[in-house]
Structure formats: structure tokens, C-alpha cells
């Protein structure tokens, strides 16, 4: 499963990286005469409602998806891990403050909160990144806090304390590394979540703004032509489904690897 997922993700990443450089069509170039044309040998995925090449747009959209996934996951994983580790290791007031913030954010359905945030801040890619990070770090913080509570009692952590190691050193060298496998799994699943959330926000018009191609906006554009030109929604839809599936496979595969009982 890990390999299937990793293959999908690798192919998608290569396509996002290289694809826009090798497609003969500009994703913004309109050929209104050919609008809604179905797939053909020249336009493999067909043309959209403004006569733009859908393949070129799917490839360009992949860049947005990866950009959102990587940014949101890396920022929220690092922030969540640090906050969770601090909460778990030090306990007390710090833990209370961080844990209550986590509870509050978890009480909201994530996507709804993101929609509200973007609605307030205004639709843009930057605000999508911000909103998804705000709801994203919580999961990591909660996971890492739990791991740290356990790791804090490990004898080698006690040994480091007995040697006079400061809290930062103990956390960095001995405690946080025990949480890394869990964080990596969560990050792989988080990539899938971030990509699908960005698509949802863009679909609702709250994310990436036209003419920048994003899979979500493409789905929205194709909505009016579901019956007469289904290829407008089919290809970006497939792209989302495949990439999300790929990241989920990677996440599940890594989890199995990390868990000797299941692996």
C-alpha cells in the first residue's frame, strides 16, 4: 500500500513540477471557438467553458495543491509538535493554555472554521494557507502531547535529567524523536486533508481566485456543464481523488510500518 501511494504521489509531484513546462498550451490561454470541446489528440483532457486546455490547467492546479499541502502540513506539523511537546513535558499552566486552545479548535468542524476564517479575511491563497494551518496544528499538538506524556517517564529521559540536561536538550534529543514516527504518519494524512480542503474552499469561491487554475475552481467552473461537458469536472475530480488517495495510502502504509503489531 505504501508503494502504491508513494508511486501515485511521486508521479503527481513530477507532473506538477515538470508538466507545466512541457505542455504546449498555456493554462490561461482561451480558444473561445473551441469551448467545451471534448478530449481529443490535441487536447487530451478537452477544453473548458472558456476554451482553455484542461490538461494544462490540471497540471498547473497540481502545483497549487502541492503548494497548499506542503506549506500547511510543514507549518502546522512543526508548530503543533513544538506546542504539544511543551504542553506534555512541562504540564501546569502551559499545558492548560495549550490544551484548552486545542479543545476549542477541535470543537469546531475544521472546514467550517476555515470557511468562516476565509470569509472574514477575504478569499485568497494566502488566507487559505493561514486558515488551514490554524485548524491543522491542533491534530499534531494533541498527538505529540500524548506521546510526550508517555516518553517523559522513559528511563532514558530520567537518565538525561539526572545527568543535568536542560529541558530543551531533553525535549530535543530524547523526547520529541519518539513522536516523530507518529507525526510523519499524521503529516501524510494531513497532506490529503489539506489538498481536499483547499479544493473545497476554492470550489466555494473562497480560495484561489480565477484565473489561477486550482482543482477546486475548475470543479466549480464545470458545475454548470455537468451534463453537456462532464470532462470539465471529471479530470480535476479524478486528480483530487487520486492524489488524496495516494497520500492516504502513504499515511496508512507508514502507520503500518511504525506499528510492529500491524506491520
Amino acid at each position: 500500500m505504501l508503494w502504491v501511494g508513494a508511486s501515485i504521489v511521486t508521479v503527481a509531484a513530477l507532473a506538477a513540477l515538470v508538466g507545466p513546462l512541457v505542455t504546449p498550451f498555456d493554462p490561461a490561454n482561451q480558444q473561445l471557438a473551441l469551448r467545451l470541446d471534448g478530449p481529443s489528440w490535441t487536447h487530451l483532457f478537452g477544453l473548458d467553458e472558456l476554451g482553455r486546455d484542461i490538461l494544462a490547467r490540471v497540471l498547473a492546479g497540481a502545483r497549487i495543491s502541492f503548494l497548499v499541502g506542503i506549506t500547511v502540513v510543514s507549518v502546522s506539523a512543526v508548530a503543533g509538535t513544538l506546542l504539544g511537546a511543551v504542553a506534555g513535558y512541562f504540564g501546569g499552566v502551559l499545558d492548560d493554555v495549550i490544551s484548552r486552545a486545542v479543545d476549542v479548535l477541535l470543537a469546531f468542524p475544521g472546514l467550517l472554521l476555515a470557511i468562516a476564517l476565509v470569509a472574514v479575511l477575504g478569499p485568497s491563497l494566502g488566507n487559505v494557507l493561514f486558515a488551514l494551518t490554524i485548524i491543522g496544528w491542533v491534530g499534531y499538538a494533541r498527538l505529540v502531547r500524548g506521546q510526550v506524556l508517555r516518553a517523559r517517564e522513559f528511563e532514558y529521559v530520567q537518565a538525561a535529567r539526572a545527568l543535568g540536561a536542560g529541558a530543551l536538550r531533553v525535549l530535543w534529543r530524547h523526547v520529541i524523536p519518539t513522536a516523530v514516527p507518529t507525526v510523519v504518519v499524521q503529516a501524510a494524512l494531513g497532506m490529503a486533508g489539506a489538498i481536499i480542503s483547499e479544493a473545497a474552499l476554492s470550489f466555494l469561491g473562497l480560495g484561489v481566485q480565477p484565473p489561477t487554475p486550482s482543482w477546486g475552481t475548475m470543479l466549480n467552473g464545470g458545475r454548470a456543464h455537468l451534463l453537456d461537458a462532464p470532462h470539465l469536472t471529471l479530470f480535476p475530480g479524478l486528480a483530487i481523488a487520486l492524489l488524496v488517495l495516494g497520500f492516504n495510502f502513504v499515511g496508512d502504509g507508514l502507520r503500518d510500518l511504525a506499528d510492529p503489531k500491524r506491520g
Binding site: A159, A162, L163, G164, R173
Partner: protein
């Protein structure tokens, strides 16, 4: 003057407890006092949960005691500032029971033994490596294995790594928290002999925590028996083993297996009702105290 002086040490844990409910209080260590002289081995025995491990960790402030005092070389350990405590830690170290969980599985043996030197900023890289190799030889490990990970060593070897780490800062006092109870019997003897050799060689003082009474009898100069957080009997090893006074000590000693299968076994089962938990320690013979 004693090297380590523990008086009226109390550690209370509060469990459960919430907004509306008071937690239950457990007196893990309940008014414990003892002193350890320089160069001696002080045995602390008792069953699981008797508070002996908690006592050991309170001495090093790995657990902050609720009350009482611990002095080391006449200095109140519990009152030390963070910086002073760091310095004091060079002189008092601990070896843990479990040779598997006491070593970070992600670090190489060399890094594990080197860590104390790094923490205290002792020596440049080459000097540290020299010291690590020296420590490896001191505890009987092969310096060819410096770059191995803990899982590549046997239990006994791992315990030697833990010992090398504890000795890296040249401490004078070691808390040995059941250092051999997780090892095979054949390996136990080797590690115990190593501990005795090192004590001679480096003039170490040991607090030896164990539940294996034969081992304690073999290694300790004096012994204290803990039961439910209190010391119920303490004295010179020979005197305590020859004439145990407290019912718990008697029950404990009677549980020592005898190597002769034909030997007449007389196992005493402790009746908790026969123990007066409020009884103070009183001196039965010179240096031999019991709470009866």
C-alpha cells in the same frame, strides 16, 4: 559526617481528582530517614510499590519530594538553585533497572556515554572520545563496539553502558535502582562483581535498591527495609539478617529461596494486621532499629 543524609522524606502523589472530586492521596514515601556513610553500600529493600524507587529518585530530585530534607556533603540538595543542582548532579548519579528502556534506542553507545560530558561542556571532541573509550574499558566493554546502537548489545552489556554513562562525570555517589534484577542470573553475578570492583577502584558510595535479598546481603554494609512507604527496620546487614525484628522483615527473609530442595521450608506469611504502622523506629541493638 554522613555523605548522604535523608531526613523525614515524604512524597505524596495525588491521583484522579477533578473539578468536583478530590483525588486520592498515596504516600509513596512516608517519613523516611536514613544516612549513608562515605564508601559504604546502603541496601534499600522492599516489595514492589514499597516506595524504594521513589525514595531513590527523590534523592536526585528526579521526583520532587513533598517534604523532608536531603543533604549531600552537608549541602541541602532540595534547596539548590537550578545551576547549583546541575553541578551537584556531577557528583550523584543513577543506574536504572531496565537495560532496555534506560538507553535511548536512537543513539549510539558512544553518544550515550558521551552525553554527560557534552551536557557539562567537559573537554573538546577528541578528549571526550578518549574519555568515552576509557569508560568503555572501565566497565568491561569492547571499544570496537562504540558506534553500535543499544539493540545490538546484550542486557548485561547494555547495563554496562548505563553504568559507563553514570560514571562519566566522576560521581562519588550512585543510586543503583535494581541494577541487575532485569538480567539473567549468570549475568547478574558479573555485573555485581563489576559494581564491587568499581566501588573499590573509584571510592564510590552506593544506595543499592533491590528486592533480591540475597544480593543485598552480599553487597550491602547496612540495610533498610521499606514497607508501604516507611522504613520498618534498618541496621547492619549481618545483624538484620541474623535477627530480623519486624514481622515484615521476617516474612521477607523467609521468602528467600533455598538452593537445597530437601530443606525444610518455613515460609512466614505476613498478616498485615500484625503490623503497627504507627510504631516508631526504636533501637534494638547498636545501630539496629525496628518499628515494633
Amino acid at each position: 559526617m554522613a555523605l548522604v543524609d535523608v531526613s523525614h522524606l515524604v512524597k505524596r502523589f495525588v491521583r484522579g481528582g477533578g473539578l468536583l472530586r478530590r483525588g486520592t492521596t498515596v504516600n509513596a514515601v512516608d517519613d523516611v530517614s536514613f544516612a549513608i556513610d562515605e564508601g559504604e553500600t546502603f541496601g534499600l529493600v522492599g516489595e514492589s510499590g514499597s516506595g524504594k524507587t521513589t525514595t531513590g529518585r527523590c534523592l536526585l530530585r528526579l521526583i520532587e519530594p513533598t517534604a523532608g530534607s536531603v543533604t549531600f556533603r552537608g549541602e541541602d540538595v532540595l534547596a539548590l538553585s537550578r545551576a547549583r543542582m546541575r553541578l551537584a548532579r556531577r557528583d550523584m548519579q543513577i543506574v536504572f533497572q531496565d537495560p532496555y528502556s534506560s538507553l535511548n534506542p536512537r543513539m549510539r553507545a558512544r553518544q550515550i556515554v558521551e552525553e554527560p560530558l557534552v551536557i557539562h561542556g567537559l573537554g573538546a571532541k577528541e578528549a571526550r572520545l578518549e574519555r568515552v573509550a576509557e569508560l568503555f574499558r572501565l566497565v568491561g566493554l569492547d571499544t570496537a563496539h562504540l558506534e553500535r546502537y543499544p539493540h545490538e548489545f546484550s542486557g548485561g552489556q547494555r547495563q554496562r553502558i548505563g553504568l559507563a554513562r553514570a560514571l562519566a562525570l566522576n560521581p562519588s555517589f550512585l543510586v543503583l535502582d535494581e541494577p541487575v534484577s532485569a538480567l539473567d542470573v549468570s549475568v547478574q553475578a558479573q555485573v555485581v562483581n563489576l559494581l564491587l570492583d568499581l566501588q573499590q577502584q573509584l571510592k564510590l558510595t552506593y544506595l543499592f535498591i533491590a528486592h533480591d535479598l540475597r544480593l543485598v546481603e552480599h553487597i550491602s554494609n547496612r540495610v533498610a527495609v521499606m514497607y508501604l512507604g516507611k522504613i520498618v527496620e534498618t541496621g547492619p546487614t549481618a545483624a538484620l539478617f541474623a535477627s530480623p525484628q519486624h514481622p515484615y522483615t521476617r516474612a521477607l527473609l523467609s521468602a528467600i529461596p533455598v538452593a537445597d530442595p530437601d530443606a525444610h521450608k518455613r515460609r512466614i506469611v505476613l498478616d498485615p494486621a500484625s503490623v503497627n504502622r504507627a510504631a516508631p523506629l526504636r533501637e534494638i541493638a547498636a545501630g539496629h532499629w525496628a518499628a515494633i
